[in-house]
Symmetry: none
Subunit: 199 residues, 2 copies
Amino acid sequence: MSESALKLMLIGGTTLTRAGMRSVLAEYEAEIVAAAPNIESLLDHLGNVDVVILLDDQALPLLLHHTTDQPAILLISQELPRPTPQQRAWGVVTTDAYPQEIWASLQALQLGLCVLSPTILAQIHSPPQPEPLDTVLSEREHEVLQLLAEGLTNRQIAQRLVISEHTVKFHVSALLSKLDVASRTEAIRVGAQRGLIIW
Amino acid sequence: MSESALKLMLIGGTTLTRAGMRSVLAEYEAEIVAAAPNIESLLDHLGNVDVVILLDDQALPLLLHHTTDQPAILLISQELPRPTPQQRAWGVVTTDAYPQEIWASLQALQLGLCVLSPTILAQIHSPPQPEPLDTVLSEREHEVLQLLAEGLTNRQIAQRLVISEHTVKFHVSALLSKLDVASRTEAIRVGAQRGLIIW
DNA sequence: TTGCGACCTAGCCAAATGACTAGTTGCTTG
DNA sequence: CAAGCAACTAGTCATTTGGCTAGGTCGCAA
């Protein structure tokens, strides 16, 4: 297996994390043919490597768009990426993995296998969390969320509740904060997943 | 990693397949401490091995019942087992795997990782969706609607689909028109009500 | 009494959204 | 071959949005 070094490419992360990965891999029969914070400049060299190591999932969509089954992909992340690669050698190991785990993963990936940390794999086939809501929405906020989900604009909600549009925006902001999201569409998603919304 | 041999146990399969596995593993630093067509006689020795190799999935339920996180499990199979192990090192490789794949899998498993052949992994997250065909959304539009419902902005959708933000807005407009609504939030409501969206 | 939280109002401002119009390619069907 | 369609790109423009700061009232509890 070690008749020749494994050809690798590092994409994403910071200068620090890439340096860390370099030092980790220095112990093994690995050759890092290229490394960069983003993928654009490396697209031409993808055919020359065995495994691409992504230090974050920013580059994944672009990578999947430009390649189908080669090279293998190792993602260093705490979460399952979306979209998930299909029918190719890919893997996700958590950021706290030991060097041996990284190396064992690379070996398996080169052979065409998929490798996942158990916590990541658990995310695949138990994604729905029937979780309770830790933050409690006030009555007014729940009311606003419901109207939000029905597709009303702030102005329409204001008319419906007979309050000012400014006030609606206040409630929406509180809502976004409590649900820990950045937009009304995300609020709808979270609300729907937690059963806060009646369709 | 090879300061001591990997301790293995073979369960299930036939005399022939177990012999085959023995010969495959003879090339590597592996010690097969026990082997049997069924698991009952081996339960006491489970604490002494690193990885249990299941040549079929007959013994899996019993194995899961008697152990929680140790030892790791390697299943040789064409299909995902049921029930599936959770939060432990386990893996499935297909019966046509090369010896190197078996060995790389065992190494990864010993370190606590999960290893799956791509075809097996694909079985996990490929729920063939009962598409509601009453809608006239194009594939692309349906894709956009899904991402819309997940709370992504036009820009994020553009990055995800590797198209321009302009194009996303075009698709969103087409979507709004076809669903006969005026905003993305309304589109989410209609999409959810018609089961077009997977939460 | 003071403080707190829910609720309400207001203005400013940057970003996101969505309606337009106007073009490209590539594939399929008549 | 022509026509239609899906997918894509590009621009302008008004509206909507959401963050921000800065107030107000009311009821309840320490």
